[in-house]
Symmetry: C2
Subunit: 390 residues, 2 copies
């Protein structure tokens, strides 16, 4: 039977995540994997889940197993509102912050619409924008040089929103300075576009100074996407959107179609974890763990990488970004690296034009610590031997 | 700030669920509510959740809290495959069966595409199809009279799929006969369209004989949507799709954008509940409970409803369908009913053309049993007094 004719005209624009494709084929536990963006399992409050569950069921009973409100469990919305200092009417709970991205795409984008984003861009966002056949246009940073104006960009139509991860960008690990944030907001106001501020890593800062969110600088036009994946556990698939009520109202209606409501027991577990203070206690340990891993990773890069290889120094988050000498190709020889037992994600997947084939994203949160050194040694030897060149 | 210009051209087609709007404003526990499609809380395995959680965490450890495969946890996919006698490659786990409907809409529908569905139609499906600006065309039943042919329908474009709930339809409570199922399959084959078989209630049969699913009759073109909401608990937001691998492959890629993966701990809880035999034991009790409630409800209708009011006798599921004498209007006087403490869903919301304003959907699973009789009495007196007429 030929199924081709049934598919939507959007389907040819669906991008497969190379990361998820790797997961499908390879047991990442068995190799040195710098691919993926998995948190360290040691940061999960595994031992606390049974008592958390018991407390939730005692407090909320069958309410925790029943359908819930589309906007999210009221108590969790309130807890998020309190934590971030916003009215509860500006909080929508989502079934993962990926759903936050997708619901923004669904509510704002039509084929041909323009999204502005700074390369390299989070793959899950690119997948979502492209699946709606939007055009993703690179917006160069720094924006504060004065060169960046609406007139400077050749756009086929007025952009709907700017998409950005200001804190510890996935994939680059970079953080926008206060000036860059202000310049971005100025640009958004000048062009009169919305901003989707994707912020799954913000609470994972290991050094440097916390900067205001884009939402704090431009609350009237920013949808701020938060996530429990890195401060609780990703298996719960919970995130939130903070934004203007008029925008959340349409997102709420859209979410009715998507899945009626976020997972309810999971929301109560997150609520209990957050309001009991366990989240913040766990976060202190998580940050210490990741800071150590980041420093270990950077130390290993310094120790083993040949001259001509550079990397970002992330102040937080889960990733750093490696740039090899020009002409090297991290896509072409990925299979050989994998065959030798090391996985990464080629950087060009994160570029809207597929360029920058000499870059790669390295994750330092998931890999077993004992595998970090052999993994980096292996990568370095492949690079040194020019095996990663075309 | 004027946000109107940012919205997608689809947004004006977003339908609010009147059911979810009721939930937003009214505490259903405080009144006699025949609205909603909530399962009875007494059917949830509340007491078993702590031990289920402990067993899952012991068996799977942090894997149960980590990101999971987009297709769903392999063990749960296998358990579903075993239960329904299909290869595991034909099983995709979804974050609720509502997501199953939405992902089918997303993968198959473009604006102007046609979906065939038999009126009255599940509201969540109507919402999803319309949000993609598809045209939903009524397909009359019975189909076995011979009158129903592709030529008999005036269609603007070839339909993409037929949407149907063959077992205990939401909202009508009706079940398709074997002949109707076969006729539907004949029609689908003749027109060469897919079938989306929405089947959240199938395991809740209280009388009559189990009939083959549409998928069993036409596996080559059917996407069968299942749900844990009525056989475990809806708070977990878990469902599944069984269908041809070529179709599931695109649904899998699409689901990467939607939420990366279904909730992981919830999947392991469902797996443990299913494979331990607890699900089937609980189902026996659930069926007995709902059978009693259905019979009670039908008895009350017989006792109190004035002449000229008719209703369906559901062999399973959660709903029955009331038809008042012509000229009566269940939409117009909903607010008065609510003010007197009784809630229902007006039947015309489930009609693609908004007709049948003299009908209503009554749910018998959620309302406290002690409120059933006063609720039906109240409804009957409103109808008798002609208060539900224009």
């Amino acid at each position: 039977m030929d199924y081709g004719k049934f598919f939507s005209a959007d389907v040819p624009s669906f991008l497969r995540s190379p990361v998820r494709e790797i997961f499908r084929k390879v047991d990442l536990q068995a190799i040195c994997s710098f691919a993926g963006g998995y948190p360290a399992a040691v940061t999960f409050p595994l031992a606390e889940i049974p008592s958390l569950t018991a407390r939730v069921l005692e407090k909320y009973g069958t309410k925790a197993l029943q359908y819930g409100a589309t906007q999210g469990v009221p108590e969790l919305r309130q807890a998020i509102a309190d934590r971030y200092g916003v009215p509860v009417s500006q909080v929508q709970i989502t079934t993962s912050s990926q759903q936050g991205i997708d619901v923004c795409s669904r509510v704002f984008l039509n084929p041909g619409d323009v999204v502005l984003a700074h390369n390299p861009v989070y793959l899950g966002a690119l997948q979502s924008f492209r699946a709606y056949r939007a055009e993703v246009v690179d917006i160069p940073l720094p924006l504060c040089g004065g060169a960046q104006t609406p007139e400077g960009m050749s756009l086929t139509s007025p952009p709907k929103f700017i998409y950005v991860i200001p804190d510890f960008n996935n994939p680059s690990g970079e953080t926008m300075s206060l000036e860059e944030r202000k310049a971005l907001v100025r640009l958004a106001r000048e062009m009169d576009v919305l901003i989707v501020e994707d912020s799954p890593y913000r609470e994972l800062r290991y050094s440097g100074e916390q900067l205001p969110t884009i939402r704090e600088l431009a609350p009237e036009r920013t949808l701020h996407l938060g996530s429990f994946s890195k401060i609780f556990a990703p298996g719960f698939r919970l995130g939130w959107i903070i934004g203007p009520e008029e925008l959340l109202e349409q997102i709420y209606v859209c979410k009715q179609c998507l899945d009626l409501c976020p997972p309810v027991l999971d929301q109560y577990l997150a609520l209990e974890f957050l309001t009991s203070g366990a989240l913040d206690r766990n976060l202190v340990k998580t940050i210490a763990e990741y800071r150590r891993r980041r420093d270990l990773m950077v130390g290993l890069l310094q120790k083993y990488m040949p001259a001509g290889v550079t990397w970002t120094y992330p102040e937080g988050g889960l990733f750093l970004w490696l740039t090899l000498p020009e002409g090297m190709d991290t896509v072409a020889l990925y299979d050989e690296a994998l065959a030798r037992g090391v996985a990464y994600v080629a950087g060009s997947f994160f570029y809207t034009d597929g360029s920058h084939r000499n870059t790669m994203r390295l994750n330092f949160s998931f890999i077993e610590e004992s595998k970090m050194e052999p993994g980096i040694q292996l990568l370095s030897s492949l690079i040194s031997a020019g095996r990663l060149s075309n």
